[in-house]
């Protein structure tokens, strides 16, 4: 079926669209630098009552959740053996890799002493009671695993073609040797890393859900539940495929390729099952804890909960279940987007909306700078993603579009000898 091979995208990096994204990224980077120099107080609305804002809720918590496509696709293909989805592994891996990288970059902005971020690695500071310690360690190791998983793609692209610019050229031979070494050894052990990636993901995705359980008196009962870790894991698993659909459609649009219709439809069939399990768990949880009355309150929390469950979980399930929707690319895109936003909203709800500290004289509303920094990080991620798929063979083009097609050949002059997808 999928005879296609991942190739570097043939496209100019700069388009009018990219320039807009570039502007957003530039503003965000300026604010980031300002935060590093001037401090958290200078750019955020955080207070002693609200120590966590959107940098944690969106950049970190939602970021981790939406990078779940990396481990769900790895599990789907390598562990459950759905080989036909192989073409989606690399884009998902890249998204996860960049997603987690930006989670860390976003986290650094929020850490008061960002230069101490490595402290949890020191055994003398290990703190086994801390949920955050586990999350931190898992994310750190997982991020390394993601980079290791990406190495074969670098090898595939550059082995035998290393030509570093300028004075770096002296390192050509050395780099070549490294790549050859990686090529010879890494594939033999890749399974170790792939399985580790799935396990580490299960651990920290669920632990993220345990973070707020330490504040029982501050959390709104719609979200405070001892099974929150399970809900977080299930929602991460559920959002992985919608996220892949979402970005695959965006990428194919951006690079004027035909979307991987068949594969995306396949994922569109799996997505409602996983979302369904999540919905059942969430609804049972509310029912067993007798928390439904809170949904009927007229509070921002109730509203946000209904949006999260109704628009972000139930509606996408309904859409994914309709064959008509699944067969159309805009339909798939709409359903996937809703699911993605639904899980992101869940993380925002848990970390911000549900959090109701005592003695707060005013509620936290993010500052313009906080919003711009978050937007800037997302924009930078998009730009790096674009650069990465232009440089590396990540995206597997589907059927070419009938309309004007930019030069795009299934095999390129720099095509390596490993013809099939490599990490194995």
């Amino acid at each position: 079926m999928s005879e296609h091979v991942a190739v570097p995208m043939r496209a100019k990096f700069f388009t009018p669209g990219t320039l807009v994204v570039f502007a957003v990224a530039a503003i965000g980077i300026c604010i980031y630098l300002a935060r590093l120099v001037l401090g958290i107080g200078a750019v955020t609305n955080l207070t002693d009552q609200y120590p966590w804002g959107i940098w944690i809720a969106i950049d970190v918590a939602s970021g981790v959740a939406l990078a779940a496509g990396g481990f769900t696709s790895a599990a789907l293909v390598y562990i459950f053996g759905n080989e036909r989805y192989h073409a989606l592994i690399r884009p998902a891996l890249l998204t996860a890799l960049l997603g987690y990288t930006f989670v860390v970059i976003g986290l650094l902005a929020d850490l008061g002493r960002y230069y101490n971020v490595w402290h949890p690695m020191l055994p003398m500071m290990w703190q086994g009671n801390s949920v955050l310690f586990e999350v931190g360690m898992c994310v750190m190791v997982y991020l390394s695993v993601l980079y290791i998983e990406f190495v074969p793609i670098v090898v595939e692209r550059f082995l035998g073609h290393v030509a570093l610019p300028g004075p770096l050229g002296r390192l050509n031979r050395f780099s070549e040797t490294l790549l050859r070494l990686a090529d010879r050894t890494l594939n033999r052990f890749m399974g170790v890393f792939i399985v580790a990636g799935v396990v580490l993901s299960c651990l920290h995705q669920s632990s993220l859900g345990a973070l707020m359980l330490i504040a029982p008196t501050k959390m709104h009962p719609l979200w405070y539940t001892p099974v929150m870790p399970a809900l977080f894991l299930m929602s991460a698993m559920a959002v992985g495929f919608p996220m892949i659909i979402f970005e695959s459609i965006l990428a194919s649009r951006s690079f004027k390729l035909a979307p991987e219709r068949e594969l995306l439809q396949g994922l569109g069939r799996i997505a409602p099952v996983l979302l369904g399990f999540y919905a059942i768990a969430k609804i049972s949880d509310i029912t067993i804890r007798e928390a439904w009355p809170y949904v009927l309150e007229s509070s921002p929390q109730a509203l946000s909960f209904m949006a999260e469950l109704g628009l972000g979980v139930l509606l996408p399930i309904a859409l994914f279940l309709m064959p008509k929707v699944r067969k159309s690319i805009p339909g798939l895109f709409a359903a996937a987007t809703l699911a993605v936003l639904g899980v992101a909203l869940n993380r925002i709800n848990v970390f911000l909306v549900a959090y109701n500290p005592p003695f707060a004289d005013r509620t936290y509303v993010p500052s313009v700078f906080e919003v711009l920094l978050t937007a800037g990080l997302i924009a930078t991620l998009v730009l790096v993603y674009r650069a990465a798929v232009i440089i590396f063979p990540v995206i597997t083009p589907g059927e070419p579009l009938v309309t004007p097609v930019p030069a795009r050949a299934p095999s390129q002059e720099d095509q390596p000898w490993v013809a099939s997808e490599s990490p194995r």
Binding site: G39, D48, H119, V195, I214, I288, R289
Partner: protein, 306 residues
């Protein structure tokens, strides 16, 4: 409701496998060193709102911004509700209520130095520690500034130096650790209290004292020592004539705040068995799949070789 919830918890434990750790884990934190921990009994019925404790705190904690004593005589601060912040470890509030005699009620707020502190349990690097002597101490050198302690604290005490660009610290009452542990003296606030509203001593003795006070002056106190059992006990404990909620002391159960997260944490990582088991299981599936695949691709290669 309670029964339901308990049944649910059991169900959850079975379903997610996350709540299986021993109940003891959260309680095993401190109190096995043989040291009798210290405490402070705050008898709010004796507090006259003189703010001398605030002054004593400022004088004892030299890392706080210096303030001269006249500043602490200003009673206008009572017009607004205050909380301890990055520049003051303790504050007195005049509460929007009066006691039975129509007198204003004052209450001191500071870190409660919980017996099972959520902040220390939350801390990713152990910068916050529960010492056997009672104080919960902070080591800025370890701190990464994640502020999870502030999220965790049920009394919303740790404050942050948001204005400090490069070396911000978490700020909260130190219980004057140096003075009470190495010098054997009383904390600054207690030493400066002119009216015996504050009593420093061994926590267990203070509990006895508190109950004796209640027993002898039934008309004076609500029959409850706040902090004796709340969230597993606190080092600062309160006596009051009015509802404790009015004293800015939120209603809390007796379970230590970090009990659930620690249970989950130690359940998931019990001897690293669950993660290793998951790894083993997925690894086996992966290997068996891969074997299949290698055979298939070998066959494929012959077919597709053009």
């Amino acid at each position: 409701m309670t029964v339901n919830r308990r049944a649910f918890l059991k169900l959850a434990a079975g379903a997610s496998g996350t709540l299986v750790a021993s109940r003891a884990s959260a309680n095993a934190v401190a109190s096995n060193s043989g040291v009798e921990p210290f405490g402070v009994l705050v008898d709010t019925t004796f507090c006259i709102g003189c703010r001398k404790c605030e002054l004593g705190c400022n004088q004892n904690n030299r890392d706080l911004p210096r303030r001269d004593s006249p500043q602490f005589e200003d009673k206008r601060v009572f017009d607004t509700h205050r909380r301890p912040d990055a520049t003051s470890y303790t504050v007195i509030n005049r509460l929007p209520t009066v006691d039975t005699k129509g007198e204003p009620v004052f209450a001191k707020a500071q870190c409660m130095h919980c017996v099972h502190p959520a902040c220390a349990s939350a801390c990713i690097v152990g910068a916050l520690q529960k010492t056997p002597e009672g104080p919960v101490t902070y080591d800025a050198w370890k701190c990464i500034g994640c502020r999870y302690c502030m999220v965790a604290c049920p009394f919303q005490i740790p404050a942050y130096e948001y204005a400090n660009a490069l070396t911000p610290q978490v700020r909260k009452c130190t219980f004057c650790y140096e003075q009470i542990v190495t010098q054997g003296s009383r904390p600054g606030c207690v030493a400066n209290c002119p009216n015996e509203a504050l009593t420093f001593g061994k926590r267990s003795e203070l509990i006895e004292l508190a109950h004796a006070k209640i027993a002898t002056h039934r008309e004076r106190y609500i029959d409850h020592v706040y902090g004796e059992t709340e969230i597993g006990g606190t080092s600062f404990m309160y006596l009051s004539a009015v509802d404790f909620k009015a004293l800015d002391l939120p209603e809390q159960g007796d379970t230590p705040t970090p009990a659930l997260t620690e249970k989950i944490q130690h359940g998931v990582f019990k001897g690293f068995v669950p993660p290793v088991a998951l790894y083993g299981l997925l690894g086996l599936v992966y290997l068996s799949r891969r074997k299949e695949e290698v055979e298939n691709t070998a066959a494929d290669k012959d077919e597709h070789h053009e």
